[in-house]
């Protein structure tokens, strides 16, 4: 069955890079996975995901806070949260893909 990947964006007030790029890279690199967006307070969405990717526009990492605020109401199902909080021009696309592969391996 396709691995389900929930994407949670930070609010994007003043991002230092184009956040959508992360989603584009992941979608291109893992075409067999099922991607969907988790909205704020969306506990059902969070429960559905095998992996949650938090995409923040700067090192403040608000996406992580947002995920944590949803999952505080969440008991039971174990999930893997991959928090991408420092990606910017300096980080290679390859690093991101390798990091994500690692998360998928762990999941198995």
């Amino acid at each position: 069955m396709a691995v389900k990947i929930g994407i949670k964006y930070c609010g994007g007030c003043n991002p230092a890079f184009r956040r959508e790029k992360i989603e584009e890279i992941l979608r291109e690199s893992f075409p067999e996975a099922h991607f969907f967006h988790i909205s704020s307070g969306d506990l059902e969405g969070l429960k559905k995901a095998d992996v949650v990717v938090g995409i923040s526009g700067c090192k403040r990492g608000c996406a992580v806070e947002s995920i944590n605020s949803i999952s505080q109401n969440f008991d039971g199902t174990v999930m893997t949260v991959m928090t991408v909080i420092s990606i910017d021009e300096e980080r290679e696309r390859g690093d991101l893909v390798a990091q994500f592969k690692g998360v998928l391996e762990e999941l198995k």
């Binding site: 003043n14 991002p15 230092a16 700067c58 090192k59 403040r60 990492g61 909080i85």
Partner: protein, 505 residues
């Protein structure tokens, strides 16, 4: 063990640092009248930690030992810690009306905690553990550390290894089995004479040829070969004349800086936190600078609070407090100070966690904070000078006030409104002179880096490419996906249809 103010002053007696001032070798730091005001200001950082009214921001719980410690030895574990740090700065500025000196070492501790962790990850070294051991020692003994970054730098256009004299930046001159030997000098070392330890860091980004300059370490203030030459300040010897003329006799002005010379100082390996990793010099400098620039909308605003109070008092003593332009000018001073405060709070609230687990303020906003502090204090000081009047620099001396031959004349002719003692008016003039004319201003300019250093960081982190793209979207040069969704068609189609409709009436 957390010391109180008195215990801190006593603790200085255990050290035997080599210090020179005005052609003399100083025998006892704790008893030197020229140093005492600075010592009192630093002692406030100890004293308030024992006061129930302030301990909430003055103390923290060590993440290493779980013990209650003075916040000045803490590693920030959350955004709340970053916010409490600047609250503490403002409080201490208000209580001392000057620089209380302990933040430079505090910032060095935090910058090194973060950077040694990252260096080890890349190079497989064990600096972080060494540093943590040192940190525990600092926390356990509640020590005050110098944050020694600024090298004397010689010819500013040359890199360290290009200088004619290689010692103009601190560098390693010998590597031994048991440690390293360092030589060079650091300038403007705040609080050095009354600190227990010195933490040294490089002052700039370094390349492979500057490897020996990529050095960070800690030594006690009385390490062999370490020499401090205490700097002169404007009007400094007024503090030997009584308690009025220097304006802030109890706590002084600025931090009390030294020229610190490392005359072949030996550092054992367990006290070395960087040695040759030039690729991390820039990170260490930038992390330290971020922490230190965060402070300036705290400490300087606390000092501004005192200046605003002193100026408002003088307006009252002079009988102009109700004049509308005076109220307006005081309001402007408050506005400028609170703007700097907003910056310090903002960069703290926007702080984040680093891989080491420690938190750092938002670097862009920390640099904006400091850049504002290179400007706004000049304006609030100008307003204070305006309101205070010319006596701010022409008041008779305390000695003439005490002289029976001139006392009555001064009492009579220096009087302001009825009901206020002349001496109080004189004291207030002197305080404004201290706060709005003295060394506080160049300290705001250069402390934590000259304005250009902040401009460089702001430009680098300004995401100008992102901003260019925003403009392209608004100007219709790049596609606007949200506009398309709002109007249900492309921009071209939308405007074509709109013009058609207008044309057809």
């Amino acid at each position: 063990m957390m010391m109180n103010g008195k215990e801190y002053i006593e603790s200085l007696r255990k050290y035997r640092p080599t210090i020179y001032f005005m052609g003399r070798k100083i025998e006892s730091v704790a008893d030197e009248p020229m140093f005492r005001p600075h010592i009192h200001a630093a002692a406030m950082t100890y004293e308030l930690a024992h006061d129930a009214r302030y301990e909430d921001i003055m103390t923290a719980t060590s993440h290493l030992t779980g013990e209650k410690i003075n916040r000045f030895t803490h590693i920030h574990q959350s955004v709340d810690d970053l916010v409490k740090k600047v609250r503490m700065m403002r409080l201490l500025g208000q209580k001392t009306g000057t620089c209380f000196q302990r933040c430079v070492g505090f910032d060095a501790l935090n910058a090194l905690y973060i950077t040694t962790y990252d260096v080890d990850k890349k190079h497989g070294t064990d600096y972080h553990q060494r540093f943590v051991d040192f940190l525990k020692y600092v926390q356990r003994n509640d020590l005050m550390c110098v944050g020694a970054m600024t090298d004397v730098k010689g010819d500013r256009s040359l890199r360290p290894h290009q200088q004619k004299d290689p010692d103009l930046y601190v560098h390693v001159v010998e590597r031994r089995e048991d440690g390293i030997v360092v030589r060079g000098a650091k300038a403007h070392q705040t609080g050095a004479v009354n600190s227990h330890e010195v933490i040294v860091m490089p002052t700039r980004a370094l390349g492979p040829e500057d490897k020996d300059y990529a050095v960070s370490f800690a030594v006690p203030i009385d390490a062999e070969g370490l020499i401090n030459i205490f700097s002169r300040q404007t009007n400094d010897t007024r503090r030997l004349d009584g308690d009025i003329d220097c304006g802030n006799a109890k706590y002084g002005i600025v931090g009390g800086e030294t020229l610190m010379i490392f005359n072949d100082v030996f550092v054992p390996w367990e006290r070395v936190f960087m040695c040759g990793e030039y690729d991390f010099a820039a990170q260490l400098v930038e992390t330290f600078a971020t922490f230190h620039r965060q402070n300036y909308g705290g400490c300087k605003v606390g000092v501004a609070d005192v200046l605003i109070g002193a100026t408002a008092n003088l307006a009252e003593y002079n009988g102009v407090a109700k004049a509308s332009h005076i109220v307006d000018k005081l309001t402007e001073m408050i506005h400028l100070a609170e703007t700097c405060w907003c910056c310090s709070l903002a960069c703290s609230y926007e702080g984040y966690k680093t891989p080491s687990g420690a938190y750092v303020p938002n670097p862009m906003l920390a640099n904006v904070t400091k850049l504002n502090v290179t400007r706004f204090p000049y304006e609030w000081s100008r307003l204070a000078q305006d309101i205070a009047g010319g006596f701010v620099i022409t008041t008779p001396s305390e000695k003439d006030l005490r002289n029976p031959e001139t006392r009555e004349l001064i009492e009579k002719y220096m009087k302001g409104v009825d009901g206020v003692e002349t001496e109080h008016r004189l004291r207030m003039f002197r305080l404004v002179e201290n706060l709005a004319i003295g060394a506080q201003l160049p300290e705001s300019m250069h402390g934590a880096g000259s304005p250009q250093a902040q401009k460089i960081m702001i430009w680098r982190r300004g995401s100008v490419d992102m901003k260019k793209e925003l403009a392209k979207i608004i100007a219709g040069v790049s596609k606007d996906e949200h506009f398309r969704k709002i109007v249900g068609k492309s921009e071209e189609e939308f405007f074509k249809e709109m013009l058609k409709k207008i044309k057809n009436g």
